[in-house]
Each structure stands twice: as C-alpha cells, then as structure tokens.
Symmetry: C2
C-alpha cells in the first residue's frame, strides 16, 4: 500500500547546523522502509511489458483479460506473461480471479489512483 495513513511522508527535523546553505535547513527523509514500500510498487510499473499489460487490460471492453488474450499480441512466452501479471498482482495493482480454466485479470483503480496521487499530490 502506498502512503496508507494520511501522515505526510516528510517531516522537518530542526538541526542546529547550517552547513552549506543557511536557507535550507537539514532535511529528514522519509524512512527507508516507507521509501522501499513505495519504490516496490513503482518498480512494478517500471517495465515496458507491464505497461503494455496494464494498458491492454484497461482497453478491454469487459475490464478484464485472461492470459491467452495477452500472450499473443506481446510476442512473449506464456510463462513470461504469467510472471509479469504476478508481479502486478503482488504490487496490488491487478486483481486475479480464476473462473473455470481461465484466470481473469482486472485493474485495481483505487491502487492506481493512490499511486498517481503520490506523484501529483497537489492536483
């Protein structure tokens, strides 16, 4: 989950030193753990194949797509597509529902919006 609380990720830590720039006080970064959590979700999106997968699922009239629909247009092997879909599911950006023999994937719009809001908080 990205920035799950309403807590601002950043806090100002007042420090007595102004080393190289008086106007800019010492800054406290968000915790490593928090940054790693956010980065892990962005990493899921940071791959051309997964961008294409997200776009294809979004473009699907039913809002869903099964692996067999996605393998062929991308020209990649079925295990590779499964692998990428799993990464997106693990990141919380995709939901998987198995019906019969097929596995159907759909976007999690809330998660995607939350991730987008992280980059454009002031919109």
């Amino acid at each position: 989950m990205v920035n799950d609380g309403s807590v601002p990720i950043i806090a100002q830590m007042p420090s007595a030193e102004d080393v190289c720039s008086p106007p800019t006080a010492a800054l406290a970064p968000p915790s490593r753990a928090e940054a790693e959590r956010v980065a892990r979700v962005f990493k899921a999106v940071a791959d051309p194949t997964r961008i294409q997968l997200l776009a294809m699922i979004e473009a699907s009239p039913s809002g869903e797509a099964c692996v067999c629909d996605l393998t062929e247009p991308l020209g990649l092997s079925q295990p590779t597509i499964s692998h990428h879909l799993k990464i997106l599911v693990d990141a919380g950006l995709l939901t998987r529902s198995k019906r019969g023999t097929w596995a159907w994937y759909a976007l999690d719009h809330d998660r995607l919006s939350a991730l987008g809001a992280f980059l454009a908080p002031a919109r």
Copy 2:
C-alpha cells in the same frame, strides 16, 4: 516525456478471431517504443533512495536542495547521490541549476503531475 501527445495510448485492433474469450476481442497494446518511454520515467522513481531524494527536495522550504544537504541524511556517498540526481534530471523530474560552486535541484511539478495522471487518468 510521458504521453506527450493527446493520443490515447491504446487502440483497439479488430481481429477475426475470438480464441479463448468471445467477449474480449484481440487487444492491441501500445507500441513497444511508447511503453519503453513511459517505463523509463517510472524506472527513475522506482528506487527507494530516489523516492527519499524527491521527498526531501519537496520538503525543502525553498523548494530546492543542493547535494551537500542530501548526502548526509541518507548515509550514502556523495557520488551515489550525484548519480541518483542525474537519473532524476535525465528523466525530466528534476531541474538542475548551478549557482557558484553549488548545484541546486528542484522538482519539475508538471512532469510529476503528468506521470501521476498516467496512473489515475479518471480523477
């Protein structure tokens, strides 16, 4: 640049076959080149250190920060910080302005918003 034109990234390509799912027609993914361009920008954000850098610069009262302000709180070497800042500048998410001996980095809010809008187009 992300989705620079107003062209929707996705197009439907009608195909005569409904292989495994009649409701879902064959989908045409966005072009590899387009997807790679987008992925390259997301890849710049998909690292915990760079998330921390972006947050620290955003938290800076002046909206800018120089390398010396950023190196210490993160506990990484100065070349490593310079390296990450370069990646963010190359991705277009940060601007660099050298004044005297110091290099000042600031967020490019437009680019960040555009990237966020890519994930949450319907907000």
